[in-house]
Symmetry: C2
Subunit: 150 residues, 2 copies
């Protein structure tokens, strides 16, 4: 791995650059590893939409913006989920142009199963740590969530 070009040996900013680098890589590696758990059930982008419509119904356009893909791509992804019985289309109550995508009970069940597999992996890792480290992680997770919310 290429270290992030230190600017001056004792510059306190370097410490922060190094921390940013290591923290970024650790998050990316954990995320990547987690993704392998439960991936065989569903393609990542389909899982992502399935998770999103768990909050409530969304229009294809909203989903395309959230997932940062084009509307035609989202049309296809939604069609896959609908064909698989994991989501349904419903007409918008006031705007005839729009469609609402909802999660079916089957979709919720599958989402839960995949999420549980990922949580299980993560929990196995936590169980390997010292209690003090787990406590520290517990205290720090809100900070990570704050960073993640940007």
């Amino acid at each position: 791995m290429t270290p992030p070009q230190p600017k001056a040996p004792q510059d306190p900013e370097d410490d922060l650059v190094a921390l940013a680098y290591r923290l970024r890589l650790a998050c990316q590696q954990i995320s990547r590893r987690v993704r392998y758990e439960g991936t065989h059930y569903l393609a990542p982008h389909q899982f992502s939409v399935l998770a999103r419509i768990g909050d409530g119904p969304r229009t294809p356009r909203e989903l395309a913006e959230i997932e940062r893909v084009s509307p035609p791509s989202m049309t296809k992804t939604v069609a896959c989920l609908v064909d698989a019985g994991l989501a349904t289309r419903r007409p918008h109550p006031v705007d005839g142009r729009q469609v609402l995508i909802e999660r079916t009970a089957e979709g919720a069940e599958l989402h839960g199963r995949i999420a549980r597999e990922r949580d299980t992996w993560m929990m196995r890792q936590l169980l390997e740590l010292d209690d003090a480290d787990v406590d520290a992680l517990r205290a720090l997770t809100p900070v990570l969530e704050q960073v993640a919310a940007r």
Copy 2:
């Protein structure tokens, strides 16, 4: 988001399940956000290979296994990098069947530029935090790295 099915209200394991869930999601969201930085230069899988051969030359087969793609896919990805002048092919010194993929100076430069953009984003987030939180993160990053190494 679906919370991870609590088993019993006061079970201390629930706490750990909840922590696993929140930590997993935070890492995934940070990783996802970081990925948007510098992505326009290179496709994610190409960047990933470019980073990997920064450690030293690798054969296509090794790269395919590390990236968990098929050998033909890696052949194409490597061909793209070579065509772009970011990597080169070199015959294996002792095994005439194998090829070594090396990063060029241009490849190293581009990798450094993308990595720097991602680090910059992460550092901007750190600068928004309280000093105490940064110190806590500094103490905890090795723990996250330990988890990431599984």
